[in-house]
């Protein structure tokens, strides 16, 4: 299992489009992906779940990945967030 705390950097936060990108990226991997905010955790492959976190700019999220390709998966997801979902 790998775990990492990341901060949302794009201006509009994890709204519909970034949520879509996150879920689509997570879906490319075998590993299970979970996304947590405060004490609330959702399935990182469910768009409804990710949208419900309503993570605005500056919020801190915990990505947890479990499975064979977990290292690759977490790397791709972190990159997506660091690149602000190519929004700015």
């Amino acid at each position: 299992m790998v775990k990492k705390i990341v901060q949302i950097k794009n201006k509009l936060g994890l709204h519909a489009r970034p949520a879509l990108l996150f879920v689509n990226t997570a879906a490319k991997f075998e590993a299970d992906v979970y996304l947590g905010r405060d004490d609330h955790e959702v399935n990182g492959k469910s768009i409804m779940g990710v949208m419900m976190l309503a993570a605005e700019m500056g919020s801190k999220l915990t990505i947890t990945v479990k499975g064979l390709d977990e290292k690759k998966a977490i790397k791709a997801l972190i990159e997506l967030i660091e690149n602000k979902f190519n929004e700015e």
């Binding site: 509009l12 879509l20 469910s46 768009i47 419900m52 605005e56």
Partner: protein, 589 residues
């Protein structure tokens, strides 16, 4: 709420959020969005399986409908805008929603529409509870999906927008993304909605399609009748229902003007402000509120030459904190980057002081406790603002501008306070700009006479003509009896401006102007000719001034300035300049 005033007469006058600029004058088409009827009856056990199947089929139909909608939209407004339907598609594949709905059907014997409605409503409520405005706006995605599936469960396949025959303004409770993109630009002249904000899909789509829109009107849907005459002013956020002929005529003129300005904007937006003989003159914008920041760029200004921070102190009863100020400045600085933002420190006290300053009204406020005089007396307030400005200097290109400077002691004192704010931040390990540039506004005649000495202490000067004219000519421009004496083309004013510019250049600093005079076309040539380095004007004035700069030779302007400085009376200057400007810029005046 019938409204009568000089220009506006109509049955209802509503104000909302301006979501997409432009003016539409048309008929109302009421788009019924949320009127979903849900059947709450409990099903017999025997019909539960059929109900599940009904739901699954409705989801399938919705998905294929989305697919065809998406390709239409991609074709019409671009792939990027069509992405939102990927989200809808994925929502319909989300096992959470599907399972919860099927559970409610099989375990609670609910109808498919009731079950699905409640599941979606639950998520919508969660998102609505979120603090950020744009997350609340995004519930329109969920509503859109909810509506689509329920329409299919109920066997209704008609697309409401297809019923639109003639041209009209769409009035609806909430415009969902699918409605927004299915608008036929040839038939839809604009839209007005009860819900939504500037970042809602509807607003974004409307802007990308250049349809005027006003959102967040709360009750427009309930107030209008099908076929009512309606005017939408998407630039101002106004909606007029059943206006009279005169009002319509007035708005037709505004509409013409809007198109005209747009054409002008297009022409010069991306061009440099260069004279015909290649002298570059900085043309920046004055900024009073955060929402104006978009128009700085769209009007082709280079940065912000004067950011008035006073609204931050007027917004609420308590004084603004350092963090609040920092966040507010940051928003603006980031949007204007890489161009610079010149932040003027608090300039209150001329007319009214907010309660938070705790002082009684003054006898003669314009000669009283105001601007830098307050800042130097209330060092706590000043320090908070300086820290916020210094911090935002680390985020982008920022300069400090000090208002109402009347002599050198004030400059020295301010510089000392800026230095001590810097060392505080340094000690606390907070990022700031150690080399921030400092400028003084020259608006008090004593400072104008000492401009050379002040210039040695600062990095730039900015001439604030509004107050300079009032103090130099001893004219209260708010007093109607003597307002005619308030003339920025007065020879004494022109001489003083010339002197300030010469003094600044002699000491090696640039000189700008941030008062209203900078946007007076009659003054433009004179100021260019006097070697003014920077004009800071309201965003709307930028295209006009830029056009004038671009069609002028610096050498010619210098000749004009020289000539004008020999006149004795304001009326001579005005007559002379009117003649030149009329001849040279026929289409501008």
């Amino acid at each position: 709420m019938a409204v009568k005033n000089r220009k506006i007469k109509c049955k209802y006058f509503l104000k909302g959020v301006p979501a997409s600029p432009g003016i539409a004058i048309s008929k109302v088409f009421k788009l019924k969005g949320e009127s979903i009827r849900i059947d709450p009856t409990i099903l017999k056990d025997s019909s539960v399986d059929d109900e599940v199947e009904k739901f699954v089929k409705a989801v399938e139909r919705s998905k294929s409908e989305l697919k065809s909608l998406q390709s239409k939209v991609a074709h019409r407004v671009g792939q990027e805008n069509a992405k939102i339907f990927d989200v809808h598609q994925l929502l319909l594949e989300d096992s959470v929603i599907i399972e919860e709905t099927i559970n409610a059907i099989t375990k609670e014997n609910r109808s498919a529409e009731f079950a699905f409605y409640n599941v979606m409503q639950k998520y919508e409520d969660t998102l609505n509870g979120s603090t950020a405005d744009h997350f609340q706006n995004r519930t329109s995605d969920l509503r859109d999906v909810k509506r689509r599936v329920i329409r299919h469960i109920q066997g209704d396949r008609t697309d409401h927008l297809n019923q639109l025959s003639g041209s009209a303004v769409i009035v609806t409770n909430d415009l969902t993304p699918s409605d927004a993109v299915m608008l036929d630009r040839r038939k839809v002249f604009g839209f007005a909605t009860d819900l939504g904000g500037r970042t809602s899909h509807a607003a974004i789509m409307a802007r990308s399609m250049e349809v005027p829109a006003v959102v967040g009107l709360r009750r427009v849907f309930a107030l209008v009748q099908e076929g009512d005459r309606i005017i939408i002013d998407g630039s101002e956020g106004k909606v007029l229902v059943q206006p009279d002929e005169k009002t319509i005529k007035h708005y037709r003129q505004l509409q013409e003007k809007y198109y005209d300005t747009n054409r002008k904007l297009e022409e010069v937006r991306n061009l440099k402000s260069l004279t015909l003989d290649g002298k570059e003159i900085e043309l920046s914008a004055n900024l009073e509120f955060t929402d104006e920041v978009e128009s700085v760029k769209s009007h082709g200004a280079k940065g912000v030459g004067l950011y008035r921070t006073d609204y931050i102190y007027l917004a609420k009863k308590e004084l603004p904190t350092e963090e609040e100020q920092f966040q507010e400045y940051r928003k603006i600085v980031k949007k204007i980057a890489p161009d610079s933002v010149i932040i003027r420190t608090m300039d209150l006290g001329g007319d009214k002081l907010p309660e938070s300053f705790l002082i009684p009204p003054q006898e003669n406020p314009f000669l009283g406790w105001r601007a830098i005089r307050i800042s130097l007396a209330r060092k706590d307030i000043f320090n908070t603002q300086l820290r916020a400005i210094l911090r935002v200097g680390a985020v982008g290109n920022v300069k400090i501008l000090l208002p109402m400077i009347s002599g050198l002691d004030e400059i020295h004192e301010c510089k000392k306070l800026i230095e001590s704010a810097k060392s505080e931040l340094q000690k606390e390990g907070i990022k700031y700009d150690p080399n921030i540039e400092i400028g003084a506004i020259i608006e008090v005649p004593s400072a104008a006479l000492l401009a050379d000495r002040i210039a040695r202490e600062v990095d730039f000067l900015s001439i604030g003509t509004n107050d300079l004219v009032q103090y130099l000519l001893a004219v209260d421009r708010g007093n109607e009896r003597i307002a005619y004496l308030y003339q920025h083309l007065h020879p004494a004013v022109l001489r003083m401006i010339k002197q300030i510019i010469v003094a600044g250049h002699q000491e090696g600093v640039w000189v700008g102007m941030c008062g209203e005079m900078a946007s007076d076309p009659l003054a433009t040539l004179i100021l260019i000719g006097m070697d003014l380095d920077e004009f800071s004007v309201s965003p709307i004035a930028v295209p006009e001034i830029k056009k004038m700069i671009r069609s002028t030779e610096y050498r010619e302007a210098a000749r004009i300035a020289k000539k004008v400085l020999q006149f004795e009376r304001p009326s001579e200057v005005e007559r002379f300049m009117t003649k030149i400007v009329r001849k040279k810029f026929k289409d501008l005046i």
